[in-house]
Symmetry: C2
Subunit: 328 residues, 2 copies
């Protein structure tokens, strides 16, 4: 079974790849479990973290905006595609044309390449809570009225996945993710990046500025739970998902203040005091457009579980990324 | 003031043009009323009906899919664009690639050309109830979960109009139309075409087959009311519409049986007996995905009025298109 991950060397793509290599059984096109024996990691950049050293892995560097490149990537052997490649929210807001080129046209290239294989591959499209339009509480039937270019591009991608699926060109499904916390590594251009930074940087020994009001809530999910959710939504029976293939993933909804209190309780005052307040109006405005509470019945029905607490999220990060050691 | 109508020789585009020529005052970019002194009618085809004979009118034939053509069309003098050019629902379902090329990429060409003018022209985008996904009743907050390629393309267009507007590239607004009844002229490839044919053909002396169950309801609006709604939504204050620029137009919701009864009451047995039942599963399936009842508070707030009754719709058609004479 051949699997392609676009954005395969990025944070989520790489972790999904490691998870698949560790437990390589996925649901194949005929609906039965099959072993992944070829895993193609596609990305625009040379990988920042070393790619998994495994004979099943092939690394391909290229431009998702180039249709011929994507056609060659998603070939007649491809069973499944996880489509992560994207310009993040802050990037798509800063460069309108790049955002549309990568997030809209790049996504169309993936769907078209999959369609051309003629074998209706499984496509897992990555969406985001940025598709919503300022509602405090959301559920599976909430209208998508995004207020950023990124959210618009993701909402369009969801519509395209549904239409290509309805036509029998792909067997698509979309996972709509909460904000991923704690993202490891360096800060990226996502407007939501601070929600990771305010935990990650102090735990790694660095000071950090919190740009938003402590009363602001964030819907968050750990990378570990997100990776499991991608596996679950990939393996779900497409027919049972119905004509709307989007699954909204649940998260937990602490305030930024509660996240910082959990950091203090877990890591102590010295670590927690590395966070200082520095309000940023642009980030606050973007984040204020995002929902606080998710009630995703579809995700629950698929037994896709969010984290239990902020403490669990912090502990997962310290264990997986810091080798269990907090920088004092 | 210069106005461009894409699809300007089509049924609605042409009627809107005639209405503007008759009462040429529209709200200009500065928010004040201004006289339209140049009206460009753009279309892919040589006009079927003769274009309005008026010195203010310029006819341009070209391909909406060609970016350079659209750039030349929407120039630095353009104040407003009404974007009607589209492949209709049945056509977009039959030719997937053509539907996306015209309805999605053509729409993007219009938005990009308008953006390049640098003067934030008013864009009125035409959408349809095909953006909905099988709900019986809809209102302004209903999620868009289309079940046809046409509906998908229109939902995407609405998202793009909102995003280009938010960025300040255009001053966009979308009018989401019920099924237009009675469409004059020849049947077209729209899956909804029968709703006009079952009234138009008998009134013109021809026999016609009704492809759907008489208990099926249709949300309908006359061309006359639709044209007025386009003027109203064009002139509406953009700021007051908020970040979601889509306005769902209300209609009336007779059953097909009630429409045929109204025809019988208005035109007599001889005319009404020209309709015979011939169920068509494909059309029934598509139509079953469309809503029956619309409760559009935004349209009401803008005082955009639907027709009073099927009788009024029939009478409007007979007066405007048949010179007041029914074919006995």
């Amino acid at each position: 079974m051949k699997v392609v991950i676009t954005g395969g060397t990025g944070m989520l793509g790489r972790r999904l790849a490691l998870r698949i290599l560790e437990k390589p059984e996925l649901t194949a096109l005929d609906g039965t479990p099959r072993e992944v024996d070829k895993l193609v990691l596609f990305d625009a950049f040379e990988p920042v973290e070393p790619p998994p050293d495994d004979p099943r892995v092939e690394l391909v560097t290229g431009d998702i905006c180039d249709a011929a490149t994507v056609d060659a990537l998603i070939d007649g052997e491809t069973d499944s595609v996880f489509h992560f490649a994207a310009v993040v929210s802050g990037g798509a807001e800063a460069d309108f044309d790049l955002g549309y080129a990568v997030n809209l046209d790049g996504g169309r290239n993936v769907l078209e390449a999959a369609r051309r294989t003629g074998r209706c591959p499984r496509i897992v499209f990555t969406s985001s809570l940025a598709v919503y339009g300022g509602e405090r509480s959301i559920d599976d039937s909430t209208a998508l009225t995004p207020r950023t270019s990124y959210g618009t591009q993701k909402a369009i991608g969801e519509l395209l996945v549904n239409d290509y699926t309805r036509k029998g060109f792909v067997d698509g499904r979309t996972l709509r993710l909460p904000t991923i916390v704690v993202r490891p590594g360096k800060p990226n251009a996502a407007a939501s990046g601070f929600a990771s930074s305010i935990l990650r940087e102090p735990l790694q020994g660095d000071v950090v500025e919190n740009p938003v009001d402590p009363e602001t809530r964030m819907l968050i999910l750990s990378p570990k739970r997100a990776v499991q959710a991608f596996i679950d939504v990939h393996n779900a029976d497409g027919e049972s998902l119905g004509p709307n293939r989007s699954v909204m993933m649940n998260g937990i909804s602490p305030t930024i203040g509660e996240m910082l209190e959990a950091l203090r309780a877990y890591a102590g005052d010295e670590v927690a005091d590395r966070v200082t307040a520095k309000p940023d109006e642009l980030i606050q405005t973007i984040v204020d457009g995002w929902p606080w509470f998710a009630d995703g019945a579809r995700a629950r029905a698929l037994e896709m579980e969010p984290d239990a607490s902020v403490e669990e999220i912090i502990e997962t990060f310290v264990d997986e990324e810091l080798g269990g050691t907090i920088a004092k």
